[in-house]
């Protein structure tokens, strides 16, 4: 078998057997399955009781005696707070509230409960609010108007294409979830793959196994086999996520529904996800190889690689700003900047339509940087792979690179 292929196979098998790699690969599907399972268990245990919830109230203003059924909540009138308290102690009611005489001017409602809580349950709050509104407006406006006042807005947004037609992708939070999660995993995959390349080369350099390998293969064969072997392992990891996302989404959507059913995978997302992983990985891997060559220890190499791997995670620091202004010129520049492009483009795909020219420019810059990185890394490997001890200074590296 070709020696490059032997190294490729060795690195691939070595990487996919790592505990860290297995955990990261299975994290997404396992956690998602777990979340679906937990949802079913929790929703099964805490199913809303069939009987109607009874909430007491004391009307010190007068006139709040209609609309006492609000969904599954029944409002029970008491004459005084003392009587209501006795009913609460006897558990005839779950809680009660008092409408004080100055309610109209202050809006204050005094609520009494038996169990501590962080905030009032939304259903209870809505029921009380609607009860008060309905009674205040009763007889003054039509019933339909009361309903509109209680729920004034049901915003339905439609995104149109340049030709004025309804766009295939309609955006929304549901569209953001998958690229966001995938972008985060992509950042982790890029960082971990870089670490694997550094560890693979760094350990061999540190324990002098490198000399034995180079007595059998060339630097080119070694680097190609390693980068592609670890890259394939990373690609397999991304493939597991890419395949599991639609399956898990289908499962979650059918069994949970609600917001989950609004989650959509943007068009071209899967193709672009794999493309950006592949290009991002190659760039990070060749530079990691160069860093490993000039570093004396694996730890030192990992520290140095942080200079470029930090850009993989950086888009998440500015997530809220990207969400608010997804087409800001700053994000356009960083979508073309090769170190941040893979993850940032993924995030922006979920928030806005990334124009084709930006995608083309970012992919072109990535490809150019990979080619340049390959040439640079090959020179560094040839020059420094068998040099031990102190890390060379930048000026020395530049001088040696110029000499070729």
């Amino acid at each position: 078998m070709n020696k490059t292929l032997l190294i490729f196979r060795h690195e691939f098998l070595h990487t996919i057997k790592r505990i860290g790699f297995i955990i990261l690969t299975l994290a997404l599907p396992v956690l998602a399955l777990l979340a679906i399972g937990v949802f079913h268990i929790v929703s099964g245990i805490t199913k809303p009781p069939a009987e109607v919830t009874r909430i007491g109230y004391v009307d010190e203003v007068g006139g709040f005696d209609q609309f006492t059924t609000q969904g599954s909540i029944t409002l029970v009138r008491f004459d005084t707070p003392e009587v209501a308290t006795q009913a609460l102690i006897k558990k005839d009611i779950t809680e009660y509230f008092v409408i004080p005489p100055d309610f109209i001017s202050t809006g204050i409602i005094k609520r009494n409960i038996m169990q501590k809580e962080a905030t009032p349950p939304p259903a209870t709050e809505t029921a009380i609010k609607n009860f008060l509104t309905s009674n205040l407006l009763a007889g003054k406006v039509p019933v339909a108007t009361i309903a509109r006042i209680e729920a004034p807005l049901n915003l339905v947004t439609t995104t149109l294409t340049g030709a004025g037609n309804v766009a295939t992708e309609q955006g929304g939070l549901g569209n953001l979830i998958i690229p966001g999660v995938f972008g985060f995993l992509l950042a982790l995959a890029l960082i971990f793959s870089s670490i694997y390349v550094i560890q693979a080369l760094g350990e061999e350099k540190e324990n002098r196994l490198m000399e034995i390998l180079l007595s059998s293969v060339s630097t080119r064969q070694l680097m190609t086999g390693k980068v592609l072997g670890i890259g394939l392992a990373g690609l397999a990891q991304v493939a597991v996520w890419v395949v599991s996302i639609p399956l898990l989404l289908g499962l979650a959507s059918s069994s949970i529904g609600g917001f989950i059913s609004t989650i959509r995978i943007p068009a071209n997302f899967l193709v672009l996800g794999v493309t950006y992983f592949f290009l991002g990985y190659l760039l990070f891997a060749v530079l990691s190889a160069g860093v490993a060559a000039i570093s004396a220890t694996v730890r030192e190499a990992q520290g140095l690689a942080g200079i470029f791997t930090i850009f993989a995670m950086a888009p998440f620091w500015f997530f809220s700003l990207i969400l608010l202004f997804p087409n800001s010129p700053i994000w356009v520049v960083f979508s073309i900047f090769p170190f941040s492009a893979p993850v940032l483009v993924m995030l922006r795909l979920g928030m806005t339509g990334v124009p084709a020219w930006q995608l083309a420019a970012s992919i072109a810059v990535l490809v150019l940087c990979i080619v340049g990185g390959l040439v640079l890394a090959a020179k560094l490997l040839r020059t420094y792979l068998l040099m031990y001890g102190k890390r060379p200074k930048l000026a020395e590296i530049i001088r040696n690179l110029r000499r070729g």
Binding site: M1, K3, L6, I7, H10, H14, E204, E206, N207, R208, L209, E211, I212, L213, L214, S215, S216, V217, S218, Q221, L386, E396
Partner: protein, 298 residues
């Protein structure tokens, strides 16, 4: 055809010549000692032999041809500081590194079993490298070096960290390699091992060749003008002897530049003393090493 032919190689780093116009050859079926102090240029020379780094000028031929990726399989190399994949098992490590030398999995495993058995390591075949002692790891490294039946074996400090039993085991295996007609280059600081094993040597210092040739010839070249004498009777003044040093059980006679040991022996016999031992003093390789390197340091 020599196993190695080195023609005036030069290698410089940052304008400093690490190897300076080195020329030597290594024959098939011999153990060749590459010796020199730390920083003499031995490792750089070895790396140029293995085509890991290129000389600035000069050339190297291995078995009559320039080393290529394909012909690297004819080489076996054991570096000074040894390392293997700590998490891999012994057999997987051997098979992977043997496969990079062109062996298929089946033959590599068969040969590995044979060598593990020969070195008493077969019981450790499935153990992870990190579970082995340093000496055991070294034996595995030696197996990796020779498993693919190389024509040229380069060993950098092979005895470091080995116990006497394993040292003897390796020595026997080196001699076996020589007897099989393979060329063995032994780079070491242990001069007693060089004296015991090597047929010829190259001593380098500061990148330059300072001694090169047959070990016996070199030692005779550095023979001091003195003889050791164990005798009975009264030792008279002998013509040609400039100094007499008395040691426990023998005397050392220092000769002048014009007198040979043979002439002194004849003169001693004529004095009528009983001679129990008469030996021409030859310096150890260690003494020669110190003398040559010392001169260059001055």
């Amino acid at each position: 055809m020599p196993a190695v032919e080195v023609n005036h190689i030069v290698k410089s780093y940052a304008d400093k010549a690490v190897v300076n116009d080195l020329a030597f050859s290594v024959n098939q079926g011999e153990i060749f000692g590459l010796i020199g102090p730390n920083g003499a240029g031995k490792t750089t020379t070895i790396r140029m032999l293995m085509d890991i780094i290129k000389p600035d000028s000069g050339d190297v031929t291995i078995l009559g041809e320039k080393l290529s990726e394909a012909s690297k399989s004819k080489l076996g190399y054991m570096p000074e500081e040894r390392g293997l994949y700590r998490k891999l098992s012994v057999i997987d490590s051997i098979i992977y590194l043997a496969s990079l030398k062109g062996m298929d999995r089946h033959s590599a495993e068969k040969k590995a079993d044979e060598l593990l058995n020969q070195t008493g390591m077969l019981a450790n075949k499935r153990k992870k490298i990190e579970e082995l002692s340093k000496g055991m790891g070294q034996i595995i490294q030696f197996i990796v070096t020779i498993i693919h039946d190389p024509k040229l074996v380069i060993l950098d400090e092979p005895f470091g960290g080995l116990d006497p039993v394993n040292t003897e085991l390796l020595k026997r295996m080196f001699l076996d390699l020589r007897n099989q007609g393979k060329a063995v280059i032994l780079s070491t600081h242990q001069m007693n091992q060089v004296e015991e094993l090597c047929d010829r040597i190259l001593m380098i210092n500061n990148g330059n060749s300072v001694l090169y040739g047959n070990l016996t010839e070199i030692k005779s070249r550095y023979r001091s003008h003195s003889v050791i004498l164990d005798f009975e009777g009264k030792l008279a003044q002998i013509q040609g002897v400039t100094l007499k040093r008395t040691h426990k059980g023998y005397v050392e006679l220092i000769l002048d530049g014009n007198t040979t040991p043979k002439q002194v022996l004849e003169r001693l016999v004529s004095t009528g003393i009983v001679i129990n031992r008469f030996e021409v003093t030859t310096p150890s390789l260690n003494e020669i090493f110190l003398e040559v390197v010392g001169k260059n340091h001055e």
